[in-house]
C-alpha cells in the first residue's frame, strides 16, 4: 500500500525552448517544452519539472505561457522553478498552472521566504532546490558538501546537508537535491550526498544530477529517496521513462 517512487523528467526552459548542457554550460536545444511534457506524460512520468533558465524578463514571461500551455494538456503535477524570488512570483506560477514551485538562490539569501510561501500556499507547494557540490579545497563544511548558486559557479560556504535540513524545518514540502559535480555528466548520481541528506530530512527527497544508465536510478533509489529526476537522458532519447521504471520495478521498488 505504499506510495510509488516517482520518476520525474526535468525540462530546462530558456525563452520557450528546452535546453540542456553539461554542468550548466554548453547548452543544446532539446525541443518544445509542451510537446516534450506531453510525451513524458504519455510515457508514464509521475510529475514534470520545468526549470526556467531564462536570463531575460521576456524569457520569463514566455515560461509562464509555457506552464499554462502544459497545464492545459498534461494531467500530472507540474513543478516550476528558476528565478523565484518572492511570494508574488510563486503566486504567478501557481496561477499559470504550476502545482509546486521550486526556490533556490532567493531562499539562501532570505530563508524566511520558505516559511512565507508555506504559510500562504501550504508546505506542499514549496520545493527547495539545493545545488550542491563536493567541497573544493579551502572551503570545508562539516558534511563535505557545499551549497552553490549561479548554476554551480559560485560557492556559498553553506553546508549542503545542514541547509537541506533547515529548509525542511522552515516549511519546505520537498527537497530537490542536485549534484553540481554530476549534473549533465551521465556518470551516475552522487549517492554519498543523497544518503547524507536523506538521514536528516523527513520530507520527500528528490535525487537529481548525473543520471546516465538505468542502473544509476536503481542505485539512487536504494538511498531511500522518494523520487528520481533526470533531464538529458530523457530529452536525447537515451532512456525512456518506461525503461527506468522497469529497472526500478525489477530491483524491487514500487513504481506506478
Amino acid at each position: 500500500m505504499s506510495v510509488a517512487l516517482r520518476v520525474i523528467p526535468c525540462l530546462d526552459v530558456d525563452a520557450g525552448r528546452v535546453v540542456k548542457g553539461v554542468r550548466f554550460e554548453g547548452l543544446r536545444d532539446a525541443g518544445d517544452p509542451v510537446e516534450l511534457a506531453r510525451r513524458y506524460d504519455a510515457e508514464g512520468a509521475d510529475e514534470i519539472t520545468f526549470l526556467d533558465v531564462s536570463a531575460s524578463s521576456d524569457g520569463r514571461a514566455t515560461t509562464l505561457e509555457t506552464v499554462t500551455a502544459a497545464a492545459e494538456q498534461v494531467f500530472v503535477p507540474l513543478t516550476v522553478g528558476g528565478g523565484v524570488r518572492s511570494v508574488a512570483d510563486v503566486e504567478a506560477l501557481l496561477r499559470a498552472g504550476a502545482d509546486k514551485v521550486g526556490v533556490n538562490t532567493a531562499a539562501i539569501a532570505r530563508p524566511e521566504l520558505i516559511t512565507d510561501i508555506a504559510r500562504r500556499f501550504g508546505a506542499q507547494v514549496v520545493v527547495v532546490s539545493v545545488d550542491a557540490r563536493r567541497c573544493p579545497a579551502g572551503t570545508p563544511t562539516e558534511s563535505g558538501f557545499e551549497v552553490t548558486t549561479h548554476g554551480g559557479r559560485r560557492g556559498t560556504g553553506l553546508d549542503a546537508v545542514a541547509w537541506a535540513a533547515e529548509a525542511a524545518d522552515r516549511g519546505a514540502g520537498e527537497i530537490l537535491l542536485n549534484s553540481i559535480d554530476a549534473d549533465g555528466t551521465t556518470a551516475g548520481f552522487d549517492v554519498e550526498m543523497l544518503t547524507a541528506v536523506r538521514d536528516v530530512v523527513d520530507v520527500p527527497l528528490v535525487a537529481s544530477g548525473g543520471a546516465g544508465r538505468v542502473e544509476d536510478f536503481v542505485v539512487a533509489a536504494a538511498t531511500g529517496v522518494d523520487a528520481v529526476l533526470a533531464a538529458s537522458v530523457f530529452h536525447f532519447g537515451t532512456l525512456s521513462v518506461g525503461e527506468v521504471k522497469d529497472a526500478l520495478r525489477a530491483a524491487g521498488h514500487v513504481v506506478r
Binding site: A71, L94, D202
Partner: protein
C-alpha cells in the same frame, strides 16, 4: 482520447474562492465532458448540475477563504436539494467536523464526523501516487479500483466516519461509503455519500485514472 457522450454537457461550477491552482481542475473537468465555469457567483453555483470545491493549503486558511464567499451556505443549500458536490483535497478535509494544525483547532463544515490531523509517517507530506482500497458499490471508482492516484497532503482523516455515525446512534438514509489509502496509517482517501462526494487525492492530477474518476462523477450528474 475517450469518446465523449453525445448530448448536452452537464454544467459544472468550480468554486472560485482563491484557493490554489484551479486551472487544472477546470481543464480536467472539461475533458471529462462537463461545461465548466470558474466562479463564486451564488446564482451560478445554485444553477449548476455539479459543484466542485477545490482546496489547497492550510485547513484554517481554506475555511476562512470559503466562508468569505459564503461557501458554507452555497454547499449546504445544494446538498439540501440533493444537488451534487465534489470536494477535492482540502475540499474534502473541510467537510469534516474540524481540523487540527499546530495544536490549533478550526471548525469544518461538519458534514461528516471526524478530525483532520497530521499524518503519522516517517516522511510527510505524503506526496505521490498511492493505491486505494475501494468498497463495494463505489460509483466514482468504477473501472479504476486498482489504479494509483496522486496525493499531496500532510493532514488527513484517520477515523471512519461511517463507524462514528453508527457509534453515535445515527442511522443516516445513506451512510458514507469510504475509500481508504495508507501513509504510515490508514486514512480516508475518498467518501461517497448521496449527493456529496470528496477525494483527498487530486483526480485532476492523476492522469488517465483521475480522468476516468471525474468522468464517472460528471456522467452521474
Amino acid at each position: 482520447m475517450p469518446v465523449e457522450t453525445p448530448g448536452p454537457r452537464p454544467s459544472v461550477v468550480v468554486l472560485d474562492y482563491g484557493s490554489g491552482n484551479t486551472h487544472s481542475a477546470v481543464r480536467a473537468l472539461e475533458r471529462a465532458g462537463a461545461d465548466v465555469t470558474l466562479t463564486s457567483s451564488p446564482r451560478a453555483v445554485a444553477a449548476a448540475d455539479g459543484l466542485v470545491v477545490p482546496g489547497v493549503g492550510a485547513f484554517r486558511a481554506v475555511m476562512e477563504q470559503l466562508l468569505a464567499v459564503r461557501g458554507d451556505q452555497l454547499i449546504e443549500r445544494r446538498l439540501a436539494g440533493g444537488r451534487p458536490v465534489l470536494g477535492i483535497c482540502v475540499g474534502l478535509q473541510i467537510l469534516f467536523t474540524e481540523g487540527v494544525e499546530h495544536g490549533e483547532r478550526t471548525d469544518g463544515l461538519g458534514q461528516w464526523p471526524g478530525s483532520v490531523d497530521r499524518l503519522d509517517a516517517p516522511i510527510v507530506p505524503h506526496m505521490g501516487w498511492s493505491p486505494v482500497r475501494v468498497p463495494e458499490g463505489s460509483v466514482l471508482f468504477e473501472g479504476v479500483e486498482h489504479e494509483r492516484f496522486y496525493f499531496v497532503h500532510s493532514y488527513g482523516v484517520q477515523t471512519d466516519p461511517a463507524a462514528a455515525l453508527a457509534a453515535a446512534g445515527e442511522t443516516p438514509l445513506s451512510p458514507p461509503l469510504v475509500t481508504w489509502a495508507e501513509h504510515g496509517s490508514p486514512f480516508v482517501a475518498a467518501v461517497e455519500n448521496g449527493p456529496l462526494s470528496a477525494t483527498q487525492f487530486h483526480p485532476e492530477k492523476s492522469g488517465d485514472a483521475g480522468a476516468r474518476l471525474l468522468r464517472n462523477w460528471v456522467q452521474a450528474l
